[in-house]
């Protein structure tokens, strides 16, 4: 009886198994697959691992349990957690990790023989599929566990996982698959995506042991009358420092990498004595810098780490006893995830302290607490039919073991992502990986996979090597490495940032004040600044995350006066009162539209509460449609609450006209016309071209001269495909992806449909209302310039000529 050995393990440790753990063991031993949903720090590792472990304690039967983790940085921690019960229950059995970080010697050993339990990432698993003998090595595989499935869900890596799991299910139909997930709004769909056609008969187990989460807010001592985004940014820094002082170890989360750099400097300025106890962590720092911060958290040597979402996941930092969130949490799930980084043990309370950067964020915090209590958590929607990934996976499979088209078609369609794959898409993919196919007449002499005995196979050694190097879906933009003259690396910045600095300029990066010495060939050499000056804080592009629908809905309820009294609402009341007197408090049951005049002309402010991406699309659309009839140039701005239009004249519109402009008729055509979508799709194509193997990623560190003639930019490739193969499904995919990613098209359409049925409140305001002010103040920050290259260049030359004439 396997349960007996588990009981003995728990007895030896003096633990009592929790209900959900017992339920998971039983479900596993009954032969089921499933999804376990539990907050972090609840013993979910033991819940999913002990079942398959105790089922068969025999040594030396090859790899029996596969553990997939989304982050290779988590692999080491996971190994530690798995080895403990393994040593007690099956002392002869080994657990090892195989990720991109695994040293070559261990990797070679794992090529020969796999351990009892193998911890790996989706990318490494894909890579192992290219080895012909991988299925034999897994002959005794009984269970695959996918950790942090919510992180993979909704990304192409999730689909990569689905495809790998389908391969394993095809080889070993009896294999059981278990996912671990944090709370999501769509857990059933998450389980469907994980299990594909093995969903039937699977189980969902919830471990909600009332792990209490406390969401507190740091209330500013004085509220500005007119807050604008980022205005009180670091104003609360000294209050924050007091909070940090009171706790042992604090994790301070910001929303962007630049904000991390700013807060780090600010805290250091307030408490210089924390110099050695303060660290920072974000995705652009060198691995060694990040390791220092992580180690410091683990052993409690640090007082505070300032971090971005790079520390949202996984790693168990037990000493952390306080989490601080700077600025809007953007979503409820994210706030809960971050809160869960403290009190990382069963039964302990997780506490997060929210710090507003402008007054309206106070409402967001109150609203987030409401939604968290009511369990109104965001969903993450699985990615469907990414063909770039399908062609990558097909080559991966063909390298490992020749496949027959019919069987592979069934296997691919057994995943959730490709269950609705159309016949023509499948035919296209087969053509793309082999000889071009019938439809691809523009590809003479092309050949990748060959048909041999009715099976697709790849045997060209160079093709295989190249493919192995390019497996995966993470494509990072080429970044500029920042280092000292002695070679010590600090991290990476974007070229667009560093190329605007001149040698001798001061910059702030990786928590240091630096001077740029030179910038050549993607390397920026720096040295420490002799004195502290106001350096340029490193900035990174990338999209700002929009407010989630769930959170904006909760905010709207707060604005309507619902919900229990709270300190946040009391603090923000003076500002809401001005809003009420000068205009009206907006909500999502009606559409508030304010019209105002200033020296610049007319302004129109709309508050649909739909997140900044939707507002950006809506603003561009309205500007395009209005200026089409008025002929006036219109400037737009947007934030998470609303959008503004500014023009010399022509914005005093009646309700009827506004409704006409907000129609969904001709939506797609107008968006394509106004949003520079061609340019955006071209950029999106870079990722698709890499994933599908159209362009090669140069292997890190080495420049293979023989491969040089095959280097090509994705932009150029996009143009060639657009000219000679415009129906190419990868082009169509990039246009579709950009519409969703940049514009949230689905949400935009839904919002516009909702606006149709709402009452409009058109209000003429004498002064800019508190909600309008931030939108107005933001008007100088330009977005993507419109127009083709020629008109942009002409505009710049004209500006220069005018300046010269005036001089």
């Amino acid at each position: 009886m396997p349960n007996a050995s588990i009981q003995s393990l728990f007895a030896a440790k003096g633990w009592e198994p929790l209900e959900f753990q017992k339920a998971t063991w039983e479900a596993y031993l009954a032969g089921s697959s499933g999804l376990l949903h539990a907050p972090t720090g609840l013993g979910k590792t033991l819940a999913v691992y002990l079942g398959p472990l105790a089922e068969n304690l025999e040594v030396g039967a090859g790899c029996q349990i596969l553990w997939l983790t989304p982050l290779r940085a988590l692999a080491a921690d996971t190994l530690r957690a798995l080895r403990e019960p393994l040593a007690t229950l099956a002392p002869g059995c080994e657990a090892e990790a195989r990720t991109g970080d695994t040293p070559a010697a261990l990797r070679a050993r794992l090529r020969r023989k796999l351990p009892h339990t193998l911890v790996t990432t989706p990318e490494s698993l894909s890579l192992m599929l290219t080895h012909a003998d991988f299925s034999e090595k897994l002959a005794n595989l009984r269970c695959v566990i996918v950790d942090e499935w919510h992180e993979l869900l909704g990304t192409k890596r999730g689909v990569q996982t689905e495809l790998c799991l389908a391969r394993l299910r095809a080889w070993f139909p009896a294999v059981r698959i278990w996912g671990l997930s944090a709370t999501l709004g769509n857990l059933t769909q998450a389980r469907q995506a994980l299990l594909g056609d093995a969903f039937e008969g699977s189980v969902e187990i919830t471990a909600d042991l009332g792990k209490s989460i406390v969401i507190d807010t740091l209330i500013p001592w004085e509220i500005d009358r007119f807050p604008w985004s980022g205005h009180i940014g670091t104003r609360l820094a000294s209050q924050v420092a007091d909070e940090i002082e009171k706790s042992n170890v604090t994790l301070l989360f910001t929303n962007t990498r630049s904000q991390t750099e700013i807060w780090f400097q600010e805290l250091l300025a307030i408490r210089p004595r924390w110099k050695d106890q303060l660290a920072m962590h974000h995705g652009s720092l060198d691995r060694a810098e990040r390791d220092r911060a992580e180690d410091g958290l683990r052993n409690g040597a640090l007082k505070c780490v300032v971090a971005t979402s790079s520390l949202d996941l996984g790693v168990d930092f037990s000493p952390v006893d306080q989490v601080i969130q700077i600025g809007s949490p953007k979503g409820i799930a994210r706030l809960l995830q971050r809160a869960g980084r403290s009190g990382h043990q069963p039964g302990r309370v997780s506490r997060i302290v929210c710090v507003p950067t402008h007054a309206f964020e106070l409402i967001e915090f109150a609203a987030a607490r409401d939604a968290a209590l009511a369990c109104k958590i965001e969903s993450r929607f699985p990615v469907e039919r990414p063909l770039d990934l399908l062609v990558q996976h097909l080559i991966t499979c063909a390298i490992g073991r020749p496949f027959e088209a019919g069987a592979m078609h069934r296997e691919v369609r057994s995943t959730h992502a490709f269950s609705k794959l159309e016949e023509h898409e499948w035919e296209w993919a087969l053509g793309h990986i082999s000889n071009g196919g019938n439809a691809l007449a523009a590809y003479p002499n092309y050949q990748k996979a060959r048909l041999e005995n009715a099976c697709y196979t790849v045997d060209d050694k160079r093709l295989i090597t190249r493919h192995r190097l390019s497996i995966g879906t993470i494509s990072s933009d080429p970044a500029v490495s920042v280092r000292f003259a002695n070679g010590h690396k600090l991290g990476t910045v974007e070229e667009s940032f560093i190329s605007r600095l001149k040698p001798g300029s001061l910059l702030v990066f990786a928590g240091r004040h630096l001077v740029l010495v030179r910038f050549r060939e993607r390397i920026a050499t720096v040295k420490p600044a002799p004195r502290k000056g106001r350096g340029n804080i490193a900035i990174w592009g990338g999209n700002k995350m929009p407010l989630s629908s769930e959170l904006s809905h909760a905010i709207s309820r707060r604005l309507q006066g619902e919900g229990a009294p709270s300190a946040e609402m009391a603090a923000v009341e003076p500002i809401l009162d001005i809003q009420r007197r000068w205009s009206r408090v907006p909500d999502d049951q009606s559409l508030l539209i304010e019209h105002a005049r200033s020296r610049e002309g007319e302004h129109l402010f709309l508050y649909p509460f739909a997140g900044r991406l939707v507002h950006e699309g809506l603003a561009a659309l309205l500007a395009f449609r209005i200026s089409r009839s008025s002929g006036e140039a219109i400037h737009t701005t947007q934030n998470d609450y609303g959008l503004s239009l500014t023009s010399k004249r022509g914005l005093l519109l009646g309700e009827g006209r506004l409704r006409d402009y907000l129609t969904t008729d001709g939506l797609l055509d107008d968006l394509v016309a106004c949003m520079n979508t061609a340019e955006l799709a071209r950029r999106q194509f870079r990722e698709i071209a890499r994933v599908s193997g159209l362009v090669m990623q140069a292997p890190p560190g080495q420049k293979d001269r023989s491969q040089r003639e095959l280097q090509i930019s994705a932009t150029l490739l996009y143009e060639v495909l657009d000219r000679y193969d415009p129906e190419n499904l990868l082009l169509i995919q990039s246009r579709r992806e950009i519409m969703e990613k940049q514009l949230e098209l689905t949400r935009l359409t839904a919002v516009m449909q909702r606006l149709q049925s709402l009452d409009y409140h058109l209000i003429e305001t004498k002064n800019l209302s508190p909600m309008a002010f931030p939108l107005w103040a933001d008007r100088l920050s330009a977005t993507l310039p419109a127009g083709d290259a020629a008109s942009r260049l002409e505009a710049m030359l004209n500006t220069l000529n005018q300046a010269a004439a005036q001089a």
Partner: protein, 217 residues
């Protein structure tokens, strides 16, 4: 057409070529014919079309300016993997239809091709009179006269707006060497590391304009 101040007979064309008017010589660089075929031969699915397109553009340009001589400043071809029978036939047809002599100043890519089409006169460099010399690699410029070269595929990057920039193929005049942009459609570019004395010219609609140093940085 943009006349260079100290080379009165030389004009820069917005199509990315230059034209010596007194001898009616049309000069282009870096066409890289057969590049997409070379990609396909290595298992990368890139559609065919640009080689034919570029030969068509060259024919049209030579006709428009009534050129008497076409000079390629190197890298007419991409690689031997791209030298398909179709391309060789297309080249033969092109030379017949062009009806003027074609001189290839062999570039590093051309040198790797065993059998260049016989109708092409291949030379290491070419003197054009007025002290002009066509070479492939700008590093091979010697002496005081004006050199016309290719090889670098120069591109200028001009920041505009907060985080965006324009990337335009350009002519680069550095000391006494004029570097032509790559003529081929399926060729990448290298953003130039401009020195203070460089002069940079780009095509703007139907003309060529010199960029003010403020834009080149």
């Amino acid at each position: 057409m943009y006349p260079l101040p100290h080379a009165p007979f030389l004009r820069l064309l917005p199509e990315g070529a230059c034209f010596q008017s007194d001898s009616a010589t049309l000069i282009v660089a870096d066409v890289h014919l057969g590049k997409s075929a070379a990609f396909r031969a290595k298992g990368l699915p890139v559609p065919e079309g640009d080689s034919a397109r570029d030969l068509g553009r060259l024919l049209e340009l030579a006709g428009k300016h009534q050129a008497h001589h076409l000079v390629i400043a190197g890298d007419l071809f991409h690689s031997s993997a791209g030298m398909t029978p179709e391309l060789e036939a297309a080249i033969g047809d092109f030379i017949v239809r062009l009806g003027i002599p074609v001189t290839l100043v062999a570039g590093n890519h051309d040198l790797k091709i065993p059998n260049l089409p016989v109708a092409l006169r291949s030379v290491p460099y070419l003197d054009l009179g007025h002290d002009f010399r066509v070479v492939h690699d700008p590093e091979h410029a010697r002496g005081g006269g004006l050199h016309i070269a290719g090889h670098w595929h120069p591109v200028v990057k001009i920041p505009d707006g907060k985080r965006t920039s324009l990337r335009l193929p350009c002519f680069l005049l550095r000391q006494n060497t004029l570097v032509l942009p790559a003529f081929g459609s399926f060729t990448g570019g290298a953003v130039l590391d401009a020195s203070p004395d460089d002069r940079v010219f780009v095509a703007l609609r139907e003309q060529v304009v010199e960029l003010p140093p403020a834009l080149v940085r």
